[in-house]
Symmetry: C2
Subunit: 360 residues, 2 copies
């Protein structure tokens, strides 16, 4: 287990997650070396281009990329003559390609990584949610990890895969997979009006710039698809029943018009929450995944149940299996944030590095 | 990644866990082969001896061991001329030694396994709880896994190690680590008398034959030590403040005398639970682990908190870290039972096999 070459890391996306990830890797260098886990950042890519050196980027080069990025929001001026398409030239079985973008267009490069027997780590949900025919081989690729796509750093995918690998059988997954909608539900529970709760979540930076991206439930639906496909149920996004938390009529108006008009829904939600409260229940935006399909929407849950006791932006994932019955295996905690998301990606990199090392 | 030799598995302990593990491995064979994870059971050992074939035991041999075991509670008559000490002859870097016993005497063999660069998987807590000087090198050995020692199949150790490896820092671990004491607490919470709750737990088979082994809190203390040492806090068993749930005076009497006398404590617990209930709190037998030390004992917890909403025999482990703050990363669910314990061991075997395979 000595004298091996470092595993080369090529990182796609140099935004908040990508940059936090680079920091965590550089900070952990000494610790990793002690455990004979040698990694070397050899590439950084964003929509502007690719900074790459197969011998490993120096801390100075990475530092310069950080500075450049902070000034110009782009790696553009640092780019070698290479363009992004040519990242495939650098893919081999000692390389891990890491996708921290939110791009819908990285799948072709991931396929090239598979062909080159490279490792793949995803924080990006989109590649895993495309049509099953297109991504089936990705899900069975042994060198793919994607923990950070669901619950950020919470070890949900690893837990699910472990159960299945050891011969357990999944009955259902029930989860609260959105910190934003969790926050909204916990504020509704406290008696806040629907529109006020949305405004508050926006002000606190818990929503996307357009809060309808969260309220639509589509982000939850994507996470549910990833869980479902991991469990061996090859569902398509179009098949999922997703309950949107805003009216269809407000779909195309501007964000500011949306925020002004949305109070028209206040009465409806106040009534729903009151009816639930009378029965000792609280609102939760939940995903329910079984072999029969996926349902994503608002549910009223016993206040004293574990899911009912969930607070604020925390996520909650219950795995109901043949062995974990009637009590499920539950993982909960913060399911968003740059630090824990990057840490989820980093943990995948470490696990994959161990698997790509080993005896040889 | 082709044509590699199978990883050889030598299983110590052929009791409930060991036998369930063998079943799970045999059932998963086809699935494992599909993923190029070749394993072969080459040895079964219990206190009576060792059944071993470096070429792999045949299903017939294993079947015969099951049958033999069921008849005679021993592998004795099946043993080759080998005695157990000589298991070390079969240890090499393509072998995983699996300890499913509750023996305090396997540490020397584990050390031999380390010297031979073999993998090690433990369900047995004892080797990890011996004096820090004796086991420090075990905790840093890269081919050791011990998920099933805490929370059975719940992925607690993996989660803790992942957080630390990615550069997070542990503040504290708070947990309910005993299904038996969890059950006792949930019955006290419902108003059952202390002695009646103990009798019930005995009748349901939730306790050891001598329930004082559970009530002493020592099993929880051992799990707490394993968590603490994993987190980098090298505490000794003797340093831990452990609150026993039965009076010192009943330590040496017979089990039946104990069960008859224990009602003398009913008043004390009824009063404690009543006082807690008046403040919307419930009793939980909890471990608290920090860099400063470990406390194991009865705590009164907010009824509507996640730990307060814990039901029955479920375990609960909250990891409070720099990144997971103020909300911790929480894992909960059934933390005991043959099937989930064996599955925890099996998952470790699979992970270790992946790490021992890889490029070569």
């Amino acid at each position: 287990m000595k004298n091996r070459n470092p595993i080369k890391l090529i990182i796609f996306g140099f935004g908040k997650i990508g940059r936090e990830l680079v920091k965590q890797i550089l900070d952990a260098e000494t610790q990793l070396e002690k455990e004979s886990l040698l990694v070397s950042i050899t590439g950084l890519a964003d929509s502007q281009g690719l900074l790459v050196d197969p011998g490993g980027l120096t801390p100075q080069q990475i530092e310069a990329a950080f500075t450049q990025k902070q000034q110009s929001r782009s790696l553009h001026e640092m780019i070698s003559a290479l363009n992004r398409d040519r990242v495939s030239h650098y893919l081999d079985s000692n390389t891990i390609l890491i996708d921290t973008t939110a791009s819908q267009e990285t799948l072709p490069v991931l396929k090239e990584a598979m062909a080159a027997e490279a490792g793949i780590v995803l924080a990006n949900k989109f590649p895993l949610c495309q049509s099953w025919a297109d991504v089936q081989d990705l899900f069975t690729y042994p060198r793919l990890k994607y923990e950070a796509t669901v619950g950020a750093g919470l070890p949900v995918i690893a837990a699910l895969k472990s159960l299945l690998a050891s011969g357990d059988e999944l009955d259902s997954i029930v989860g609260c997979l959105s910190g934003t909608l969790g926050y909204l539900c916990s504020r509704l529970e406290k008696g806040l009006a629907y529109s006020a709760a949305i405004q508050e979540a926006c002000d606190l930076g818990f929503t996307e710039p357009d809060p309808r991206q969260d309220l639509s439930g589509m982000d939850v639906a994507r996470k549910a698809i990833i869980l479902s496909r991991t469990a061996g149920f090859p569902v398509e996004l179009a098949d999922i029943a997703v309950e949107s938390l805003y009216p269809e009529a407000l779909k195309t108006v501007s964000v500011s018009d949306f925020l002004q008009s949305v109070s028209q829904e206040d009465g409806r939600y106040t009534k729903l929450v009151k009816q639930a409260s009378d029965k000792q229940k609280v609102p939760r935006y939940a995903a329910q995944i079984t072999a029969e399909g996926i349902r994503v929407g608002l549910s009223m849950i016993e206040k004293t149940s574990p899911m009912g006791s969930l607070k604020g932006t925390d996520n909650y994932i219950a795995l109901h299996t043949r062995r974990y019955s009637p009590s499920p295996l539950v993982i909960s905690g913060p399911g968003a944030g740059n630090e824990v998301t990057a840490a989820g990606v980093f943990s995948d990199i470490i696990r994959l590095t161990k698997e790509m090392n080993g005896r040889r």
